[in-house]
Subunit: 454 residues, 2 copies
């Protein structure tokens, strides 16, 4: 390809376009570290939507592939550079403005999730979606993947908080969708279509997010189990009538990985641990927690304890959040994001253990259990081809298992490149075909994030 | 058009296809009673998705327009028959099955919203979305318009509760989207695209709706104001920090219309009335209600009172719900559904009053005030051309006013045919163009609900 990159450089401010291979290197991968990543022609780091439009017009004219990118913390290879393409990094577009009267945050895509939360908190407001990586993931990436998190069992996922989006299409056209109004059904639900579209349909340059009043104080219930299946059964039972604000699960391997990584006094002998929170207001909170505790005890927890101390509660939640980093220390990893209907969560979890045993790989599992969304993490030795092959087989089988249980290959991370092969198994040919038609309607040349999802 | 209707009739069970003009008459209109409705070739009343597919295949082959239809309670003319087209009425597909373990309702489109609510309640579960017409509107229509209601100020709208959809496309292909899982980001967000698509993209034949635990008991606060603008200011103030489960507004004209229609002892002299509910659990409920009451008093309510009696509370909510029918008794009506960002709700409401005065028409207004979503109802005399013209002008100006305030022409009813002319003013040419491209990608012949929305 010999696209005249100079003509793009000339249209953008100095230092917006990077072409030095060493400087480009960090922009080639997200956390999935897809080894098939190409060497881009350039990395473009715009500071406003106009520059995004300029870039897309140029790319469209010269049919150059473009991979949009936020903070690069994606776990599915959704931001993997394409050979001789552009990486369009939104990391310099970071403004966050909160309007307390409208109860909104107007955000640029490069702003971190935590920056949105902080800006909201300054006004006594709250932006709920909280991926475990909230301190380092960008809000643009959250929008592109419809990210979830820990509190979404009660408060929903990213799409539930999006009131407006500005999106630059493949041809450089900028759409302004929605506005700071709480209900709006004028026209097709295009905002919802762009949320979770993983860079395939357009580049999000601005969003308006709905904020809600600050979360009330929480109480935390920790339940220790001899085995993970009983823990999963407790989750099914408790979610039948109650809406806790967090229901996280860690299995024995992930508990031990976290303890190795950062000693926090977790019970290394536990088969599984549940971390449950309630934020019901006032006296209802302790009442709700005590009902939850009773359920855990009845279903078969070995030990349960409650803390109203926010710091102690946060310590357990933080233990859960660092699990990914802790497990990463144990070898190379393939991170799953499979989900299942809640009642079959126990079958999913025991099935994963069986797959691990069959392929002789370690698969520590943490889960947003209240949503039926699990993160089995396949650990392997990348220098050993046999281990790598067994891991890859286990990775694929976990997704097949989820599909066979009526579940999904991805609950919140997105398909990216890593789960692309399994997507048709879940969606079927008709849905794949319609998805391709919509992709073609918005990006007829197919220059946006080629190789991902479809 | 001389499509061989006999060939469709032959493929469907007896009595599925109606061609007798008298029997077809009720299927030509929804509640908007669009006088431009055509005389359909036939009304098809399938009893399962196979028959919907048969019908769409036939219509596609013969390029016959198809207008899908639920209970016909739409208020925007979204279900208005097309000359020599088919009306595809889903009123015989009414099954509702609740699975309490999965906490879902599996519904067919013709089931009424109230039937879904009742089936859920039998299991101690709740389907929140509650359009005022919930006792007579179909869940399919709710899905097609992304319907709202009274409790969505706290609990969200239809799209927030949809886990899965079966959709038959224009060419008869059936898509099965989603499943009974709480989080799923595999592929494009097609479910969300079909929700609110007003019959333009496909025919919904089945849905899986998420249910939540039954709503706790509610307390009701009624606040009476001398003028509607002060009432609106109270709403802005209270929604800053609190999430009530209902915040409805009635102005003087709608209060009097309701009293004329069904005497319930409302204060006919009030400039406006707010009906506010809290369903915060336990003791928090009365605490929240007393904070809300204090806000109303401080901002300038003439009188406030609280009731914990659910029946008395429901009586006020019911008064609000019947407003549409009550106002309908006063003449011909054009029903608006305009919304605005919450802080400018007072400007929207005073602006509507100015428009009413300027055009010498009565515009009683009720509102889901906590969402900034209002229903100004233009009352006119259809037998008087001058009155009709003034009403039409007022109707258009109210939408222009909403757009100028950063609002929307429709918060929950949909665009249909009645608001079609104003849609480009709100969305702009780029968004219209992209909407048309998506429509063309899914319905290249344009046979689905032609004349509506776009």
């Amino acid at each position: 390809m010999d696209a005249p990159l100079e003509s793009l450089i000339a249209q953008l401010p100095e230092k917006t376009v990077i072409t030095d291979p060493v400087s480009m290197e960090p922009y080639r991968y997200d956390w999935a570290h897809d080894e098939t990543a190409g060497m881009p022609l350039a990395v473009v780091r715009p500071t406003d939507a106009d520059q995004v439009q300029t870039t897309m017009r140029w790319a469209s004219e010269h049919r150059v592939p473009v991979v949009p990118r936020g903070a690069g913390s994606g776990l599915s290879g959704g931001s993997t550079a394409v050979e001789q393409g552009l990486v369009l990094s939104l990391d310099r577009m970071r403004s966050v403005e909160v309007d307390p009267n409208l109860r909104i945050a107007v955000v640029e895509p490069g702003a971190l999730n935590v920056e949105v939360k902080r800006a909201a908190a300054e006004h006594g407001l709250w932006y709920p979606p909280d991926p475990s990586s909230y301190e380092m993931c960008s809000i643009g990436g959250n929008l592109a993947t419809n990210a979830g998190g820990l509190c979404c069992v009660k408060y929903g996922v990213t799409t539930d908080y999006v009131l407006a989006l500005d999106v630059v299409l493949a041809d450089g056209t900028k759409l302004q969708l929605g506005g700071p109004r709480l209900k709006d059904v004028a026209g097709l639900s295009l905002i919802k279509l762009f949320v979770g579209s993983e860079g395939l349909l357009g580049v999000i340059t601005r969003g308006i997010l709905r904020l809600i009043p600050a979360q009330p104080s929480r109480s935390t219930l920790v339940a220790i189990y001899d085995d993970v299946e009983t823990a999963a059964r407790s989750v099914v039972e408790m979610c039948r009538n109650i809406r806790p604000s967090m229901v996280e699960l860690m299995d024995n391997a992930s508990i031990n990985a976290v303890e190795d990584y950062r000693a926090m006094g977790l019970d290394r002998s536990a088969g599984a641990m549940l971390i449950i929170q309630s934020d019901a207001p006032g006296e209802s909170c302790s009442r709700e927690i005590s009902v939850l505790q009773q359920i855990c005890d009845t279903v078969g927890a070995r030990e349960t304890f409650v803390t109203d101390d926010p710091e102690e509660g946060e310590m357990f939640a933080e233990g859960r959040r660092v699990a990914f980093h802790a497990i990463e220390k144990r070898g190379s990893i393939m991170l799953e994001d499979v989900g299942a209907p809640l009642p079959v969560l126990p079958e999913l979890i025991t099935g994963i253990a069986a797959i691990a045993a069959r392929h002789r790989v370690e698969i520590p599992t943490v889960a947003h259990a209240g949503d039926g969304n699990t993160h089995p993490i396949v650990v392997y030795d990348a220098s050993d081809p046999d281990s790598t092959e067994r891991a890859a087989r286990a990775f694929a089988e976990v997704m097949s298992l989820a599909i066979s249980l009526g579940g999904t290959i991805t609950g919140e991370h997105g398909v990216g490149r890593l789960k692309k092969a399994a997507l048709p198994d879940q969606l079927g040919p008709e849905v794949m075909e319609v998805s391709r038609r919509i992709k073609a309607a918005l990006d007829p040349q197919g220059i946006l994030n080629p190789g991902a999802v479809l």
